[in-house]
Each structure stands twice: as C-alpha cells, then as structure tokens.
Amino acid sequence: MKAKDLMSPIEEYLTPDMSLCTAVTRMRGIKRVHGLPIKGMLVKNEQGTVVGMVSIKDILRAVIPTYLSPDLSIFSWDNMLEQMSNRASDKVVGDIMVKDLVTIDSEVPLMLCTDLMIKKGLQRLPVTDENDEIIGMVYIRDIFDIVSEYIVKGGQEHGTC
C-alpha cells in the first residue's frame, strides 16, 4: 500500500491570523471517522498556500510559560494551568503553528510513512502530489488499524493469538 491509498481528504483549514479560541472551536467541531475530534489541522494563508500545521501538542505548548523548567514547575499553584490557558486565548495560530512541515509524496510506500512518523514523533503526515500540492493526510491511527489487523491475522495463523 502507498500513502495515497490510506490518506484521508482534507476539507477544512485554519488561518494564521485565527485566534486560538476560534481554532480550538473549529478543531472540536471536526470529527474523524472514528468519531473523535481531529487533533491536528493544516494552516492555509490568504493566498491558499499551506504555511504550517497546528496539533493539540502545539496548543498545549503555548499554554506552558517559556520560563517554566522542570525545576520550577513544582512551584506552580493550583489553578495555574487554567490561568495560563485563559491567557493563551489571545494568541493566534500563526504564533504557535509548526512551520517546517514534514510531508510525503503520495507514491511513497506505507512502510516508509510509518518509519518516518515513528522516527520523527509525528501523528499525521500531509501527502503531496507530483506538483507538491497537499492532497490528503495519513494518520498514524489509520496505519495502526491496518497493522493491528495483520498482527491478529498472523497470530491466528501461527496459533499464538
């Protein structure tokens, strides 16, 4: 199987000037096939070019103050996370998005996709066509669904499952 065989279409995008509040609301509203809200979205500017990606990790990172080292986080107070989340709502998508995207060609085999996602700690990989246009997204969860099916099948054949 290749990336193009597993990728999901992308219907909605965020914009760089969108507030975190709008972005989070948008993300909560989009459900994936398994029924859970989407955990990462691409960011497209006014010219229609994809300029970055925002995942829930990036949003959580934006809530943690830069000065908070592991040495200092023991001194946080009870509702600090709430206070900081509240403050983060003023930030915009452009400030927190990941700008250097890792993408993959649609003809690339799934094995390579999987390897790349594990080595780089990615949850989703934008898929590009021959013109470098993003045409879809491969999710780690979808790869896992295929892999787990084959693991079970193999186990049954070998009598280990």
Binding site: Y67, L72, F75, W77, D78
Partner: protein
C-alpha cells in the same frame, strides 16, 4: 607638568606601517563588534590572528608577555568561576533562595522587588552577573504570574541591581577582574574601596524603587497565598552536592579574601575551587560541565588581549594617554572624573570588556608618563593613581546600566522577557536604566572626590 614633557621625549611614538596596521585592525574590529554583523568572538579572534600574521606582535609576545599578551589571570579566573557555577547550578540552590526570598517578602510585590534587588546584587558580587540573572529571571517571571503583576519592572530592576552589585568585588564584573589583574589589586582592595559605595548605591536605589513603585504595585491577598504555599525545600535537587558546593564556595571566598596575604593570584584560587569541586562531584564525564563554560566569552577575551597588545606595542596607547593628559593638563582629579564619566557613557554604548582592555594599558602608560622614576607595584599602585583605577571600574561597571545593550545581564533579561511574551523596548529599558546610571555614577563621583581628594 615637567614629567609629562620629558616623558614625551622618552616615549616618542613612531608612526610606521605597523602603527597604522594595528590601529586599523583594532578600529575595524571595534566597528564590526558594534555593528553586530559578525559575532564578536569571531571578529576578535580573526583580528588577533591578523596581528600575529602581520608580525605586529610576535606569537611569543602575545602568548607569554604580560605587557602585550593574553592576560591568563583573567582567562583562568573566568574559567574557574564558570566551572564552579556550572557544577552548582543543578543543585537548585538559586531557585531555593529566590522562592525563600519571595516568601520572606510575604507576597508583597514591592517588598519582593526590593528583596530580589538585594539578592541579585549580592549574588552578582560573588558570581557573574549573567549567571545571576539567568537563574533568577525564570523564578521572577513565575512569581510575577502568581501575583498577577507586570514582570517587566522586576526584570529590569534585577539587571540594574546585578550591574551595581557586580561593581562591588574583584570577581563581580569582568572590568574589575581585568583591572585587578593589570593593577595587581587584590580582593580586599575592592572590598575596601568599592563595596562601601555600592552599598550606598543600593540604598539609594531601594529608596527610588519605593518612591516609584510604592503605590503602583498591588496584588490581592489570595494571590499572595500562592507564594506562601510554595515549599522552597522542594527546589533542592541534590542536597549532597549542594553541601559540597557550599563548602567549596566558602573555601574559594576565604581564598579570595586572603589571596593578597598569601600572594596567590585570584585565578589560582578559582582554579583550585573548580578542581576541588569537580573532584568532589564524583563525575566521570567532566566534558558536560566544561562544555557549559562560556567559551565564546573566553575566546573574545583572548582575541581582544592580543589586538590591544598590538596597539600597546606600536605605541598607539601611549599616544592616547599623552592626549588624555594634555586634555586634563595633568590634573589627576580632573583625569579621574573624565575617565569615570567617559567610561560610563562608553560602556552604555559599547561592550565594556574591549573598552577596559584598551583603558588598562592606557592608565598604566599615563602613570609611566607622570612618574617616570617609578616601576612595578610602586607605579601600578601609586597613591595618586588609585582613584583613577576606581573611577575606571565604577564608570565601566555602572555605565552598563545606561542601555539595554550596555551589559550582558541586560541583554539576557530582555531576551528572556521577550521569550515569555513581555517585550522590553530599548526605550523602556532606558527609562529605568539611564536615570539609575546617572544617579549611581553621580554617587561614585561624590564618593571618589570625598574619599580620595577632599578628605585624603
């Protein structure tokens, strides 16, 4: 005025090709350093290499002669102290002190600001300023968030206090380390001559802080409770290493206090401390600790010393010192005041390290012109020369407060604030820094005049 006249004959400067080359290299390098187009360490090292390649200095002179070459006393004092601090940093001592202080301030914003200013000044006097603000700034941001007050005044006050505190001791600030090494002054000289005036400055600064922020900084009682509930003991990561660090730091401080008596150079004391603490730490991988030494700063010093050595050898420094004496007509009080204010203004604009590296030989040259019969310690610590050294130290250290780029501590604070989402503009920093610079240099002026001229 006679000595100056005879000296001119004795030290006639020949303006040959080497003279122009050495000056050219130095001033182009200085311009590049100010422009920040190329990293200052690269500029200094390349400039130094040119000085050697063009034979303005022989390599032997640059590496081994006190008069023209690298001041290894400065280099190893810095390396030793940086190693000790790198080993101490992970113990959590500094976080402990900061949280403890905030609690001692009972969560009152103004009281915390004053206490933080004092601990910053004291730590900066004993360690280097950059490390002090680097360690305290994150805790300051945390506490300001807890109290829901603007962290910017706190951060700027800490940068200012670190520059003032650093002025107090031989090891507090690079200009003092350099001056001490050149003038062969010891730790106690600085304690006796500079610490008293620094204490006065800190008092004045605290009064100013109370006047300016007394009514402005307010917080609610439930927010103060956030501070009071923090347990500073949790900051201590490695109590065993902490004890070892404190013992070694104590030995080093006693060593500094006594180094003059036992005829040890400060670098020997610092290196002993670094070696001992490395040994006690039981680490098998010293490269981590050593890698954290600020090598770019160390190499910046090395490059500068060689470039300035070139200037000294070709006589450019003598020429400048003759001009300086002509300007003040040999009046030493006027000379020290000119040096103090000029140093302050110069240090607010440019890095005070190259400035002091150039001024040190200039002051020594001036002394040679003034007292041609003297040499060695008699010359370097001539009673009439001492106020000039102190004026140079006070001006160069305190001038750093004049602008956001005046001292490394300022640059660090502005950078950390910006990363945390609080932009400190150049003008904003100056609104705090420039008045404090003028007040502290003014206090220094009165102090030097009273202590060394009016009451001497």
């Amino acid at each position: 005025m006679e000595p100056v006249e005879t000296a001119k004959v004795a030290h006639a400067v020949v303006m040959d090709t080497s003279f122009y080359l050495a000056c050219g290299i130095f001033f182009v390098a200085l311009a590049l350093i100010i422009s920040e187009k190329i990293h200052k360490t690269i500029v200094a090292l390349f400039g130094a290499s040119l000085v050697l390649v063009l034979k303005i200095l022989e390599q032997h002179e640059a590496f081994h002669l006190e008069e023209f070459g690298v001041d290894w006393n400065v280099i190893f004092l810095l390396i030793g102290m940086m190693t000790i601090i790198n080993l101490m940093r992970p113990t959590g001592l500094f976080e402990y002190i900061a949280i403890r202080s905030a609690k001692a301030g009972r969560g009152e914003p103004l009281r915390i600001m004053v206490i933080f200013a004092i601990i910053t000044a004291v730590l900066s006097a004993l360690l280097d300023n950059v490390t002090t603000v680097l360690l305290l700034a994150p805790v300051t941001l945390l506490i300001a968030d807890a109290l829901e007050v603007d962290p910017i005044p706190y951060l700027i006050v800490e940068a200012l206090a670190s520059n003032i505190g650093g002025t107090a001791t031989l090891i507090g600030d690079p200009p003092n380390i350099m001056i001490a090494s050149k003038a062969k002054l010891d730790f106690m000289d600085f304690i006796i001559h500079l610490t008293p005036v620094v204490i006065i400055m800190m008092f004045v600064m605290i009064v100013i802080l109370k006047l300016v922020f007394g009514k402005r900084l307010k917080t609610r009682d439930e927010l103060k409770e956030r501070i009071m509930q923090m347990d500073e003991r949790e900051a201590i990561k490695d109590p065993v290493m902490l004890t070892k660090s404190l013992v070694v730091l104590g030995i080093v401080l006693v060593g500094f206090i006594l180094h003059g008596v036992f005829h040890y150079e400060p670098a020997t004391v610092a290196l002993f401390g670094a070696g001992l603490l490395l040994l006690l730490s039981g680490t098998h991988e010293p490269h981590h600790i050593l890698a954290e030494i600020e090598w770019p700063v160390i190499f910046f010093f090395i490059g500068l010393f060689i470039m300035v050595g070139g200037l000294v050898k070709v006589g450019a420094i003598s020429l400048m010192s003759q001009k300086m004496l002509a300007l003040t007509k040999g009046n030493l009080f006027a000379t020290s005041m000119v040096i103090m204010w000029f140093s302050a203004i110069a240090s607010a604009v440019v890095d005070n390290i190259p400035y002091v590296a150039t001024m040190n030989p200039l002051v020594i040259d001036m002394a040679k012109e003034l007292w041609p019969g003297h040499a060695g310690m008699e010359l370097l610590q001539h009673p009439e020369l001492m106020p000039i050294w102190w004026s140079l130290a006070l001006g160069a250290c305190l001038g750093g407060n004049g602008s956001a780029i005046g001292a490394s501590a300022n640059v660090i604070v502005v950078g950390m604030a910006e990363k945390a989402g609080h932009k400190i503009s150049f003008v904003k920093f100056m609104a705090y820094g420039l008045p404090i610079m003028f007040v502290t240099v003014f206090i220094s002026m009165i102090y030097v005049w009273l202590r060394y001229y009016a009451l001497a």
